[in-house]
Amino acid sequence: MFLLICKQVKWPEKELKAASRLYFSSIKISEQDNHILYALFQLIYFRSKIYFISAAKHIFTLFKKDLLLEARQQYSFFGILLYIGSTIFVLYMAINQPETKVWNGLFWVLQLFICINAVAKSFLQESKGRMLYFYSVASPVNFVLAKLIFNSLLMLLMSLLSLLIFSALLGNVIPKLLPFIGITLLGSLSLSLVFTFLAAIAAKAQQSPVIMAILGFPVIIVQLMLLMRLSNTAFAPLLTIPISTVLLLAAMDLLVVLLAIILFPFLWKD
């Protein structure tokens, strides 16, 4: 971990060696040497601070680029909205006001398909030439983080909207509304994170949309099972929401983000 950070910060080799020598022999350090150690830690602190600030700036710029693209090519945004609206309307026509179990199942399946539609294009829309340009100006970690943030915000918005339309048309059957909104947000976050990373993989393969479905469905079943379990408790007035499941989902999200940060640089090289 230490070495990884140093690599990211582009730490000069000389300083790194001195630092590690001090680090490993820190037991033998006398009182006089303490100020050297202190200075080194200061150096580490400032270097990493500079690094993180510049990284945050880059991520924000890339995020703004995605937002701008979305604002300019509004057809995709409205396309997803239309998709949500018409799907829920068809469901309403078909089953009117379903019981809670059906409601819950349909809601999560809808979230899954919204996510595939909203997130899949994030990497597919970038043409090869544009990817090459990003490759030359941005670091892969910043790039993938910007994509993850953008897609999760997009997906949060979409799932809130779909929840609104869903409860308007198919009947508001949720006794615990606020916890359910929380579960929806958590769920859409996990869905979008997983699918963003899979979209990055699929974008490199031929017939990407098909590959994306093949890769995504088995992987996402686990999260969907957990989410349905959670939302079932939101439907039953007597059950409390199990915190351990929420934490498990959050840990899985963190795992996906970490894997994306570690693995995306390898996908990126072409």
Binding site: Q206, P218, M225, R229, L259, L267
Partner: protein, 232 residues
């Protein structure tokens, strides 16, 4: 006889498993009876699968560190043999299940739909599906270096996703399958009889070694194919 000692060990251990597993005395438990001997086969298959998938993941990491195509072939072949062991685990599990879980008054086929809903079975099915997806992804890319890189990345991702699907989720849900909230019965030394341990541990090692041997043969064939392709 170059480095053949572990192959001989594997064969000897599997022969030992098949003879001692069927001949030695086992504790007679209600509902289990003589089917408890399936422990030497069913559980070992999943052990071998998990170990082979782990080796596959390690080789994927090695590929990403060195960009040597050899490791990509290793990773793929270990995943394929891992899948085969998973399917064998299912088959042995189905035999076991038809004696212990199925309603004796009903034919096995009728109680299948209730039995197939067990969370452990679904979790294992998800794990196998993830690795099938790995094979599909790998075959969908034509360029050799690109294919190796993308599939290695997915392999690592799949391995990370394997853990919740076979180790965490099935434990949270109620299941007929042993090994719920209170750990694995076969691994707990207080739970498993001493005479069974005499066969069970060698069986795990034996099956795994056989799996690795099969994989090395497949790897050698594929390396030769690769060599032939590149020499053309």
């Amino acid at each position: 006889m170059y480095k053949s000692w572990w192959k001989i060990t594997g064969v000897v251990l599997v022969i030992y498993t098949c003879t001692a597993g069927f001949l030695l005395d086992v504790p007679q438990l209600p509902a289990l009876g003589e089917t408890i001997r399936n422990l030497y086969f069913h559980v070992c298959m999943w052990f071998a699968m998990m170990i082979l998938f782990s080796i596959s993941m390690v080789n994927a990491i090695r590929y990403l560190r060195t960009f040597d195509l050899k490791y990509d072939i290793y990773a793929r072949q270990f995943a394929v043999v891992g899948i085969i062991f998973g399917i064998l685990g299912y088959a042995t599990g189905a035999i076991w299940m038809s004696f212990t879980w199925a309603d004796p008054n009903n034919p096995t086929f009728d109680s299948f739909s209730t039995v197939a809903r067990d969370p452990k079975l679904i979790g294992a099915a998800i794990a196998l599906l993830v690795y099938f997806a790995y094979l599909v992804l790998r075959d969908s890319v034509n360029d050799m270096d690109k294919r190796a890189r993308i599939s290695s990345v997915y392999n690592i991702f799949a391995y990370a996703m394997l853990f919740p699907s076979i180790w965490i989720i099935p434990r949270l849900l109620p299941s007929l399958h042993p090994g719920g909230e209170n750990g694995n019965p076969a691994l707990d030394t207080k739970d498993i009889d001493g005479s069974m341990r005499m066969v069970f541990y060698p069986a795990i090692i034996g099956w795994t070694l056989i799996g690795v041997w099969i994989t090395t043969l497949k790897i050698r064939i594929n390396l030769l194919k690769e060599k032939k392709l590149s020499s053309l």
